[in-house]
Amino acid sequence: MSDQTMQGGTASVPGAQVAPDTSDHDALSIHAGPQGETLLEIDHVTLRFGGVVALNDVDFSIKRGEILGLIGPNGAGKTTCFNVMTGVYTPTSGEVRFNGKVISGTKPHKINQLGIARTFQNIRLFPEMSALENVLVGCDARHKTSVLGVLFRAYRVRPTEDQLPDNGFKRAFAKVFGMSRHVLEERGGRIRAMELLKFVGIADRAHELSRNLPYGYQRRLEIARALATEPELLCLDEPAAGFNPAEKEDLMDLIRRIRDLGHTVLVIEHDMKLVLGVTDRIIVLEFGQKIAEGTPDEVARNPKVIAAYLGEPDDAA
Amino acid sequence: MIRSSKTWQVAAMASVAGLVLSACGTTDTDGGGDASGEDCNFKIGVMGALSGANASIVLPSVDGAELALNQWENDECEVTLEKFDTEGDPAKATPVATQIAGDDTFIGVIGGAFSGETRATKSIYNDAGVTMVSQSATATDLTQEDPVEVFHRLVPYDDYQGAAIANYLTDEVGASKVFVVDNSEAYGEPLADRVEETLGDAMVQRDKTEVGQTDFAPTISKMESAEPDAIFYGGYIAEAAPLLKQIRDAGIEAPFVGGDGLYGADFGNAVGAAGEGAVVMCPCAPIEEDSTFAADYEEEFGSAPGAYAAEGYDAMSVFLAALDDGARTREDVEAFVDDYTGEGLSKEIAFDENGDVPQENVSYWAYKNEGGTLVPEVEVTP
């Protein structure tokens, strides 16, 4: 397979500073709409489980191209907020709009296709798949081949020059009859997946089972897998949990580079330093309610926020 | 790569070893004994449910055939009886039939014992020209709708049996309101259909049950409102036993009549006290208790001849007569059996162009369950 040649990439040692990524990632950038426009709106969303109110009239929006932080003490409803956005829960009242389209009540995989991807607080990779395969599952979200297409490969497309096979006979055949879209997608997917692994800095262990990867690699693999679905909006759920300061630095850099590719990023994080350092804007939740919103400076000075965090000093660490 | 080259070495050695060993010889897949016209070494197959729930209807006929072979006196010929268990399942019967068909030393087959397996295999035997003489397959279509050259049977088909049962119900029992129950299976349903046809207005209601059913409450409540003066059940022993018990428990005392599916040695034991007086109809003539056959059978197998033992004996006798007559090929046997006439244990044997025994040669008997054994009651005509 072609990915054999891709191995190597940026070698890095877990825990140490990841070498700056030098390869060309233009191929990874996505085509995003006009910057600064509203991308996602959480419109007065309330979510109740029985008598418990998990989200109470939460209302905020994300603009295209920004890095938005979502913070709050444990149990404030941050992850629940993600779950509402990604279709796991349907809000009791209010609605979620993405690109102006109501998405609350839509099934999770449909929401992903619309352009929202996320990572999980407690890592949820596919443990028996290799790192590359995990990312490939993400790439598949953008692939069009149907099950019948996989079986019979009847859908042919005209390949570009560099997609043509080397073997003379096969090359001639492909020129006349075109190539199966499935084969091209599969090949393209592998190349893209490998690029993504390089982008997050874990390409050196692309063929290892994800369950055998070190913790930091698993976190980054989740990000790569989410990026593979080419989301306009990427939601990171506590991406720095369990990281040491050096790794956190890397992560901040990674988040900025993700934004530079054209993605909008929403981060849930406990670590105030990271959030204040990387985000453009911050929303603060407490007990399912929005208590503050603003630039990192504004939020850091907001007395309500300080009170909320001082009230639970353990979690603010 | 070093490791893999080792693999190829191993593979090469294995193939050489295989070639060397192959020189050792080949197996005789014909299963011994080449058939040639001169020496008379033949096999006769018997196929049927030799194991499984319905074996008790088949095994006596196999024993009967064995007895006929043991009693046969012929210096020229060596005949063995090969038993094939099909569990009564058509899917299991086809490989057996293909095996028999492909082995030229088989000159005939006794069976199939049941209609389903016979339906599935008769074209195989027909293609190979193996003569079949069935001791107990009674489905009408086997000879009437879809006859093949090689199939013969010693029992009348369901049409006649159904008529005989209906006649018994109306004439002997004097019933005018018969409740007909069947087991929805290939055996019970067509038989019950024939009974229904012949009964005409004398049938009050028909109900269908399942194989494996034990709770017949819905059928019983239908009976209670129909108030029949006789009940016919087309099915097997396993369901007849709980059905009878529940009929009697409900206080319905109408006579109970069953088809030959109930004609087995274990009927009396299975139905117990509730089955006292129940009648089983069978196209099999009773074997005189003092006859030599019954005595020989008892001596050989340690029990009184059961269902279709005489038919099994007769089927074997037909084949052996063919060999006595000098038949040495499948064609000879087929020609001989087609024209055969003779006095059998069960009846006067002859086969019409469809392979059926002429109707006038057949006798139907009603057997009554008395104290756990089936006692011949009366002969009935269709």
Binding site: - | E210, Q213, S221, A270
Partner: protein, 323 residues
């Protein structure tokens, strides 16, 4: 299609259905208890029931009793048969657990493996009675239907006036017996100390073992209880139908399992509701059409119920059996 027959005898058919369903429900308890605690389908449970019917036959044979005994002997023999069937069935269930399931549990095998092993155990038990014992002991073992003497003969007890519904003693014994056993089991699981252990393991095995509940003991207890209920069902079955056979377990087991799922597998009261509903549905369908459609009706009812209530009528969970 005979709806008139159904309507005109609705009381009678419902009673028939309840009788049939009572036995399903008792057998269903075994499936439900094991599922509730271990989250697996014990496919050999149908044979646990079958062994019980043979035990009844064995007890009657040893005692030498038959039809028409005096009342005292009838009661004594039936009680002995009850004990015999419960012991035999519980013992079989326990043996299956110890021999087949425990090694798998040690390996942490997924449910599918338990399923295949259960099918294997079921075949072994069927063949023991249909083949192996016949070779060693001869009749009554083997592949034939065996009559069990009607020690407890069916007698009319009384007729409900007005609707003209005759009640027999066997019906009363079956329905009352089934309900009593179920109440006893329900009380045991909910009230006793051992029962608390069962519920604890059902809710959260890990926490339960941390709290000092011996999981193996609980699982054994569950198999024994389920087996004993199948034993009761076996006695009631023989009283009603008078027969046994090496393969009678299969269909009853299938129906009982359907009943358990219908009511909400893992839920004791669900087993009762599911069993009765299934019995009634089958009898109604058999009356409207005929018995050949009873099984189809049973499964259609199951599919329809699951479509609207994906975890059965009463929902699952042995732990929350009180709810």
């Amino acid at each position: 299609m005979d709806f008139d027959a159904l309507i005109s005898g609705l009381d009678r058919h419902t009673l028939d259905g309840i009788t049939r369903g009572s036995i399903y429900a008792l057998v269903a308890l075994g499936y439900t208890m094991v599922y509730g605690v271990m989250k697996l389908i014990n496919f050999a449970h149908s044979e646990v029931f079958m062994v019980g019917t043979w035990a009844v036959l064995g007890v009657y044979t040893v005692l030498g009793v038959g039809a028409g005994e005096s009342l005292g002997i009838v009661i004594a023999a039936t009680l002995l048969a009850l004990v015999g069937a419960m012991v035999a069935s519980a013992g079989t269930a326990l043996a299956v657990e110890r021999i087949a399931y425990r090694p798998l549990r040690k390996k942490g095998a997924p449910p599918l493996i338990f399923l295949i092993t259960g099918i294997g155990c079921s075949m072994v038990l069927v063949e023991l009675f249909g083949q192996v014992f016949e070779v060693f002991f001869g009749p009554p073992f083997g592949r034939v239907t065996v009559n069990i003497p009607s020690v407890l003969e069916t007698k009319e007890l009384f007729t409900i006036p007005g609707i003209d519904l005759t009640i027999t003693n066997t019906r009363v014994i079956i329905i009352v017996g089934a309900v009593l056993m179920m109440l006893a089991l329900d009380t045991f699981v909910n009230k006793s100390r051992l029962g608390r252990g069962v519920r604890a393991v059902a809710q959260d095995p890990d926490t339960a073992s941390l709290m000092g509940v011996n999981q193996n003991r609980v699982i054994m207890l569950v198999f024994v209880l389920g087996g004993a209920m199948a034993g009761v069902a076996a006695l009631l079955y023989t009283i009603q139908y008078d027969i046994t056979k090496f393969d009678i377990g299969f269909i009853i087991g299938l129906k009982a399992f359907t009943a358990a799922v219908l009511g909400g597998i893992g839920n004791l009261r669900g087993a009762l509701v599911g069993g009765l509903l299934l019995g009634i549905a089958e009898v109604y369908a058999s009356t409207i059409w005929s018995s050949e459609w009873a099984n189809v009706t049973a499964f259609v009812v199951l599919v329809v119920v699951l479509m609207f209530r994906p975890t059965g009528l009463l929902g699952e969970s042995l732990g929350k059996a009180r709810a």
